[in-house]
Symmetry: C2
């Protein structure tokens, strides 16, 4: 059952842009240049799978005061006109030699004084989605204006989700909950993993996903080797642990959680590891509070895992979530980002069972003043066994 | 039915790398830096949906002589070890402050002499998938080596498909052919467009797509407004023209073609437009030859459409296809890229019926010495009518 989420009210976008502008002005920056699908959707509501085509660059300029300006290929005019943006400037892309460069430069010059500064996200978890040579041409046409890093401007705003955003993510989680509830029809002994990946994607769509941007997982005896591989054509066998992880999309927002299943029988080690992962997650669900840091969350998880006699996974044990499958911060010892009310996060403890054999467990939460609120249905307290 | 394509033989990748290295040496460039999913898959065979997470950068370095080197987050080590690459260097990402920067710089310094040059794709249809600040730090650590644009190196090689690649694209086309063959069960009068998008994605998965990276389309009375929007919750009505466009993925390769259908009845104008689009495509299928340019293909299509009394669409009327949904060149008057044997291309004439009402028609071909060879089943010669 497809059901596309209603458009956010204009007030939602105005609030977002005001928050960006407050930070722009505080950083003495005159405008913010956005080039990526997530940032542009966040500011405008412009939602399309056309980003899959690398052919054309798209730009949104958020001045420190006044309305955002879209500078986009004319193929997107109709769709952008349905958003709250009123200032939409287009060119016929692709145009070899000047693919939006002079139009973007002219727009930026009009909102940034000569003594002013353009903010561009350049830090961790950002990428400039336009040809680098074109960016250099734009900069050259902005002289003597200065270019500064604006990663903080966009990330400190995007990381706090409005109630409307939380509802979108909850809707995406509900889709995955419904698909996981069908797992008995999808996975089992003798069924090849690639078939399971395919049928799980079908179940996500049937449960209402607009599209399925991410499905990964793994399967192996008592644990799996890695969690990012495409599925091989290998039938599940008794004693396997199967993990499925999904980023289904609903109204432009992602869920990102996984589930583990034992095939026919759960070995003692797999059960003990699952229990440890479940307990570590439970600790965070009980005790995480605004004001703690991402590093604190990591410490809570590793502490609990070690108490259970399990070796914590080496990677990050949780992260932000929302307009992309993963967002900052990272639950790692070196990330001291403050966890604030309204952040949507994944809690993702992992355990190394043996070299080349691991298990991970993931839940999605929104952080409230009183602690975490689950956005998906909590995993089963004991490792489920499939037939 | 999921069936993951077998891995390419190592010789396939060796041939690709030798072609890149020949061009690197001809351009007096000592190494090529790749950061994007498509380029890295092309050189290594590393295929994962994990690119959906913007958190971590990934690098592959192709020296002008010798084997490629992967410089990647340790989470990808297991999967990269299954490719033909033997030199894989990892760091535990994310590492705030030095997220692969010094490891990449060290690697580049080891393969580029101080007087040498690093090639980075910076031109049209490229983007650097790493934080810009980190790229600047890498460059600083390479001094006095020079950075040059290597767009031509990667694009002139990737645009010619091997037989093995053509077979992958053909397999993706077959998936979409099979899904379109089910259209009578998916679309019809009274069915909302979002439901059709959802069921069409399910049909693509059921027909064997590994995943569905792109579905778009439109519907409207006698034509549609645009071709990139998500589907609204609007039931189809008699007289609508429905268009569905898909980029289904099989073994890492895309198809990209669309189909049009009239709902209950086809109006005279829609039928005439369809006939004109079909005839324009037919002209290209008959007459396109290696040695012509992208601009020539555009001229053939617009010439045929105008002869049929139809106004050609303003955008590009065809493009490359393969490891991404769209690749260069573009069938536009300004693109004088030579069309060469082995290029896989879409032929995509569009027609403007009235302001805000259009139709497009798309087929996928491989260009042979003797002319185009269709990779998908040719569209029906007359606009099909659904119940």
């Amino acid at each position: 059952m497809a059901e596309t989420a209603a458009r956010f009210p204009d007030s939602e976008f105005r609030t977002r842009v005001e928050a960006l502008q407050t930070r722009l002005r505080a950083a003495d920056t005159d405008a913010l240049l956005l080039t990526g699908a997530a940032d542009i959707f966040y500011v405008t509501g412009f939602l399309t799978r056309f980003w899959e085509s690398p052919a054309r660059p798209w730009f949104v300029v958020v001045p420190a005061r006044g309305a955002p300006i879209a500078v986009i290929p004319s193929i997107g005019l109709d769709l952008m006109s349905q958003t709250w943006l009123r200032d939409i400037r287009t060119w016929d892309a692709p145009t070899p030699g000047d693919d939006g460069v002079s139009l973007l430069a002219e727009t930026l010059r009009s909102v940034i004084p000569e003594s002013g500064r353009l903010g561009v996200p350049m830090g961790a978890e950002t990428a400039l989605r336009m040809p680098m040579a074109d960016f250099q041409h734009v900069i050259a046409q902005l002289t003597p204006r200065r270019i500064v890093d604006a990663t903080d401007v966009i990330q400190r705003v995007r990381e706090i989700k409005s109630d409307a955003e939380v509802e979108r993510i909850r809707a995406a989680c509900r889709v995955a909950d419904a698909a996981f509830a069908q797992i008995g029809d999808i996975a089992g002994c003798g069924i090849p993993l690639d078939q399971i990946f395919s049928d799980f994607q079908i179940a996500l769509l049937a449960a209402g996903a607009d599209w399925v941007s991410y499905v990964a997982g793994g399967a192996g005896r008592g644990g799996y080797r890695d969690v990012i591989s495409p599925a091989p054509h290998r039938p599940l066998v008794r004693g396997d642990v199967l993990m499925l992880d999904t980023g289904a999309v609903k109204g432009g927002y992602f869920c990102d959680f996984d589930r583990n299943f034992a095939i026919r029988e759960a070995g003692d080690e797999a059960r003990r590891t699952y229990d440890a992962l479940y307990a570590a997650t439970e600790t965070v669900l009980q005790d995480l509070r605004p004001g703690m840091t991402a590093a604190d969350a990591h410490r809570m998880l590793t502490g609990s895992l070690e108490k259970s006699g399990v070796q914590p996974g080496g990677g990050r044990l949780g992260h932000g979530l929302g307009v992309t499958l993963t967002e900052w911060p990272s639950f790692i010892p070196a990330d001291h980002t403050e966890l604030r009310e309204g952040m949507v996060l994944t809690v993702e403890p992992g355990a190394v069972i043996a070299p080349g054999r691991m298990m991970v467990h993931e839940e999605n939460i929104v952080l409230r003043a009183s602690g975490p609120e689950l956005l998906n249905r909590r995993a089963a307290a004991e490792l489920p066994v499939l037939g």
